[in-house]
């Protein structure tokens, strides 16, 4: 019965194949849990104003500001819950924090 080896985090998985006891045998699986649709407000990245100081990155509770080659990229909207802490932390006005109209539709 033990299918934990093939632990399958998939919303379509049936009861026969779901991981017994909910145990998860893979790392980094939080990436598969999309929390972006919880958002009512959305941060908007204004690249032209950004000095790449990276003060926003460590304050994000959801690790939703990807950094590549020491430069931040646009937000990971699959996981950003729209808390707005990054916008408060930005000294250069490079992050707008506005109503997430798309989420309401």
């Amino acid at each position: 019965m033990d299918k934990r080896k093939t632990c399958n985090i998939d919303p379509q998985v049936n009861w026969k194949n779901i991981s017994p006891g909910g145990a998860i045998t893979q790392s980094g699986s939080a990436d598969l849990f999309k929390t972006g649709d919880w958002r009512t407000m959305i941060p908007v990245f204004k690249e032209d104003k950004c000095k790449q100081c990276l003060l926003c990155v460590p304050v994000c509770p959801d690790s939703s500001i990807p950094v590549v080659n020491k430069k931040r990229l646009d937000f990971d909207y699959d996981h950003c819950k729209g808390c707005g802490i990054c916008a408060k932390a930005c000294p250069f006005g490079a992050i707008d924090f506005i109503k997430d109209e798309k989420q309401e539709g």
Binding site: R4, W15, I18, P20, G21, G22, A23, I24, T25
Partner: protein
């Protein structure tokens, strides 16, 4: 041949634990199960076992420690009673849903209130929906035998569920009886090593236990847990048979005592079954066709098998040592009556709530039930189907 001894029910359980030598035992003392961790901690102090004995500050912590330990890959046992089991209540569900085969010795005692320390099934009946397998024991021998079998049942790959082995507080937990212990080597071979496929102390695999289960997954997990409980039935039978081949004492879902040709029957669990057998023997000598169904496995509930065993009787009394306040009868009664409903000619059924808070149950009480059932069989109006036995009116 086994080892003849004289032990109380608590000593019997502690001795089974000693022979099994589990990896971890977190426990907190509570009457009447206190002696189990007390005896066992002596075995630990004497170096007779290598078990890690974890002293905790409450039963909630005891069961939480059991969960962590079993998830780590360690065979884990504990013991409790009454309010102790109630304090574990929240985490009993975590143990079961996490599919951790912890083994718990439950010494049945009334739940407060009013405050009371005596035999009553309110504690384990309160945990009946927690997802634990529940095995009930008539006497010290059965408590010992059931405890040894519990590991094989719970740890089976098709089951992976925690098991509680119940016995009546004081009546069997403190009553010293003759007992036949099995040689330790045989017990160890029967129980075997605990080898879970996935465990947290495995350095070659990452594993997370107990993650949040959103609505997308929760129901699938519950359905899968139900399947494990269903699977337990076959495992319980095969383990009971194998145990019999080793010890000469065979176990089934229940013991059908002189039930084959019985016209009326009582269904009861734990120590009162012993009293009832005496009554059955005496009434049989008078030519009265009375029988007994001593329920051993309450979770999973062996419904079809009970219905088959009772299909030919005309009247059944189901005895509950617990008041569930449903106002339609005790919990064992409700489930037995449910499975009888589908029979073509179901027997008349009467619920007797008895022995609450340690109230004595004597042969004359049991005899009065059989006489009532015989009268109903002979056409007397059944009357009130929900009754109290031995209460002052």
């Amino acid at each position: 041949m086994g080892i003849r001894d004289r032990l109380s029910g608590n000593e019997a359980i502690a001795n089974a634990m000693k022979q099994i030598n589990p990896d971890v035992m977190p426990a907190f003392p509570i009457t009447p199960s206190t002696e189990i961790p007390q005896y066992f901690s002596q075995f630990v102090a004497n170096g007779e076992v290598d078990t890690e004995f974890v002293t905790v500050e409450s039963e909630h912590s005891a069961m939480s420690a059991c969960i962590g330990s079993e998830a780590a890959g360690a065979r884990t046992v504990t013991a409790t009673s009454s309010a102790g089991l109630a304090l574990m209540h929240e985490v009993l569900y975590v143990a079961a849903s996490s599919r951790l085969p912890i083994t718990l010795a439950c010494v049945n005692r009334a739940l407060t209130g009013p405050i009371n320390i005596n035999a009553d099934h309110g504690d384990s009946m309160g945990a009946r929906d927690s997802g634990w397998i529940q095995i009930y024991s008539e006497n010290n021998q059965e408590a010992y035998d059931n405890f040894i079998q519990a590991f094989r049942i719970g740890e089976h790959p098709d089951v992976q569920l925690p098991v509680m082995v119940c016995q009546d507080g004081f009546i069997t937990s403190h009553g010293v009886e003759n007992i036949e212990l099995i040689e330790t080597e045989k017990v160890k071979n029967f129980v075997g090593d605990y080898c879970p496929e996935n465990y947290m102390l495995n350095p070659n695999e990452t594993i997370a236990h107990g993650p949040y289960d959103s609505p997308v997954y929760y129901m699938e997990h519950k359905r899968q847990q139900l399947e494990a409980m269903k699977n337990a039935k076959e495992v319980i039978l095969s383990v009971g048979k194998e145990f019999g081949e080793m010890s000469g004492r065979f176990y089934d879902f229940f013991e059908a005592y002189k039930l084959e040709d019985a016209e009326v029957a009582i269904v009861v669990l734990n120590s009162t079954a012993g009293t009832a057998k005496d009554v059955v023997d005496a009434m049989r000598e008078e030519g009265k066709k009375v029988g007994l169904l001593k329920l051993r496995i309450f979770r999973p509930f062996p419904g079809e098998e009970i219905a088959q065993a009772l299909k030919n009787v005309k009247a059944v009394a189901v005895m509950d040592r617990h008041e569930g306040f449903s106002t339609i009868g005790g919990p064992v009664f409700s489930e037995v009556r449910t499975v009888l409903y589908d029979l073509p000619n179901p027997p008349k059924t009467i619920s007797y709530v008895y022995g609450l808070g340690g109230r004595d149950v004597r042969t004359i009480h049991i005899e009065s039930i059989y006489n009532e059932l015989l009268a109903v069989k002979d056409g007397k109006d059944q009357g009130e189907a929900y009754r109290y036995l031995g209460v002052r009116e």
